[in-house]
Amino acid sequence: MTNSTHHEPPAPILQARGISKRFGGALALADVDLEVRPGEIHAVVGENGAGKSTLMRILAGIITPDSGSIRVGGDELEGGPRAAIDAGIALVHQELSLVPEMTVAENILLGAPPTTAGFIRSRQLKSIAREALDEIGVTVDLDEPIARLSVSLRQFVEIARAVARKPRVLILDEPTATLTPAETDYLLAMLQRLASKGMAVIYISHRIPEVFAICEAVTILRDGHLVERTEIASTTPSAVIDAMVGRELQLDLQVRRTANPGDVVISARGIKAPNVNDVDLDVRAGEIVGLGGLVGAGRTELVRAIVGADPRTAGTVTMTVDGRRTVIGSFQSAVRAGIGYVPEERRVDGLALTMSVSDNVALPNRAELSRASVLRPKAISAFVRRLADVVGLRPPAITRDVGEYSGGNQQKVVIAKWLGRKPDFIVLDEPTLGVDVGAKAEIHRLVRELADNGAAVLVVSSDLPELLELSDVIHVVRDGRIMGTLAQSEADEKTVMSLASGETLVGA
């Protein structure tokens, strides 16, 4: 617990009162209040779909609330995004909100570059952008188009953009979801630095430890309602989680399975691909293998190359089930052989957002759900209903478009797609990215069940506790190579990180 230097709380810089918002008939926010003091890091937590992002988008002027008022520094805030920016509110979105073909500098000053008679003053543009990047201590080529940057770098560019506006209130909506532990640490330290200069920070995260590490107060939302606002000093992680979920949650963080691995199911030899250098990897039946490493280490590329989602430049993958060997070439052959793949970017690679849950789940299972290539609607609906139940989709309205569901539920749909095929080998890349605590526990349960039922499971995760908790064995990846392998007993945060960063961490 840090930053408890203020003895007398100053007047709040941001005051939101009675904010309500409906989407169609659905109530996203009901009479929610939020108060943040200058120099305070204030957490907003809640399950997926609790309304956190909606509230932040209202503060940033992007969505107009149905009712309620917002005051910044005592003045009523009214108008669109421009007005909010002018009032000193800067939002770092949950979904990356950059323009891919514009440069880093242009993105940092998007919408407000320095101009003379409409012409952009590019030198000044760059110097302001550099200043903002310096402020957060990140170095990057200002002329690089965003499309050519890694995801984590984009995240920092977004933060630089928010900082460049010299905000009085900085809002970050799940900024650490795509970051490695090292980057996360860096970000948290940076936020404390910014707060110590008097900036108010609203911080959204599903990672409760982060909240307790840097925040002073927390506002908890559930189903669009304000549950409570409390000082961090006067609460505990489990109390916060209980308030979020509204029920006693059995946190099975300490529950470790006893794995009894069977035969090798998947055997990858000499895998080469862009950012993957000659990797050998085996996964056994009933075993959960974890891939750890920093963002950009090449884990995603490695697993995509293994399942054939991207072409390999060298190497073979063979799959052995019940003594039958199959060579995995294209992704199609992988699926035919019984491989399932939950991709990292679910909105891009995992789901057709404008199609129903039913369609999404049925797609990889269409062969089983048809006779002579003719679909069997009744079979499909029974099949999907059953899987929706298994993964705990809420609400279980399978004819609704997937795009209308919250992130955690969307991830459940992706998992349901593959569960239906009873995969012998399943790859899950960041299975709980942006997923709330409740959904996360359910997804972990599903992953374990898969392994318990004899599937070979490969999990990529940047969430170190999750990786440690799930995996029977962890391979740590750096520069596209496996730098080391840790058995469950020898793996902890320190050993994984030292292999991942390529340096031995001395002390804590």
């Binding site: 169609g24 659905a26 199609q332 199609m355 369609d359 797609l363 269409r366 679909l375 309205a397």
Partner: protein, 339 residues
Amino acid sequence: MSRESETLTETIAVASRPEAGIEKKRFSLLLWMADRGVIVFTVLLILAAVIFIDGFATLPNLTDVFYRAAPIGIVAVGMTFVVISANYLDLSVVAQVATSAVIFIGISNEFGVFAAVAVASLVAMLYGIVNGLAVGFFKANAVIVTLSTTFIGLGILRWLSGGSIFFGPEDGPIRAFGQARFGPIPLSALVLLLVTIILWFVLTRTTFGFAVRAYGSNKSATRLAGVNTTAVVVGAFVITALSAMVAGFVLAAFSNTAVSSMSDGYEFRALAAIIIGGTSVFGGKGSVLRTLLGVIFVSVLTNILVLSGIGFGFQQMAIGALIVLAVSVDALARRAAKK
């Protein structure tokens, strides 16, 4: 189309509409109207025509409407697959229809109808495969690919056929096919209906059609569900090409003539029908039954304008205006319902 609708009419009603959540019930009337814009418009147009236009509600005129609708309708219904697969449109239907018509008349004159149909099928497959591979495998832009194949196709057609006009014999089977009618309904209209029913079935009830819709909604996710996406795109273009082939037969049989310029303008006219029907130009959502309605709408409208003695310029203006109007009403109704 996820709902299990048992009858054709019901499917028209629910086709391509996202299943509304429970909370949307209150606005269901407006949304219902918006979703069925093309039905409402077509019905209103036909009602108005019956009341105000002399001669509209006569059997010979009904026949003319069918004649107008048949060839362009068959093209549009097929092309719906390309549009739903999020590939904009297939410009080369112009070349495909003309090529098929010329082959149909030209080759049957020499070698008989069966040879002609066989050759035309091969050519249609070739069009579909070339377009499909270029778009699906090489990931090239469909507009430019089909523009190139239009150039190539028409060039080859004119080069080989010398651009002549071909006539069938006055008493041949083609003529008989073109003239055949059941009461006021020409055989070509039944062909359109048949093609529509078959393609409706393919799109909504088969795994291939399912894959086409999924691909149109999200290419990457569909590939990563184990779908052979190249086959999906090739399939969509082959279906378009086969439909264009049938349209060429119908067009050639109707007039018993074939010439390489007879299908000029078919690409955008077919697209207009698809869009008026309400299929999304961004793919994923749509239905061939909607396209059929769009075709009927445009055919009835053109018929009404000709019956009213309206000149060509005003006809074009009216069609253009109605495309925009139909879609605007839809958009505004949807917006009102959302509020």
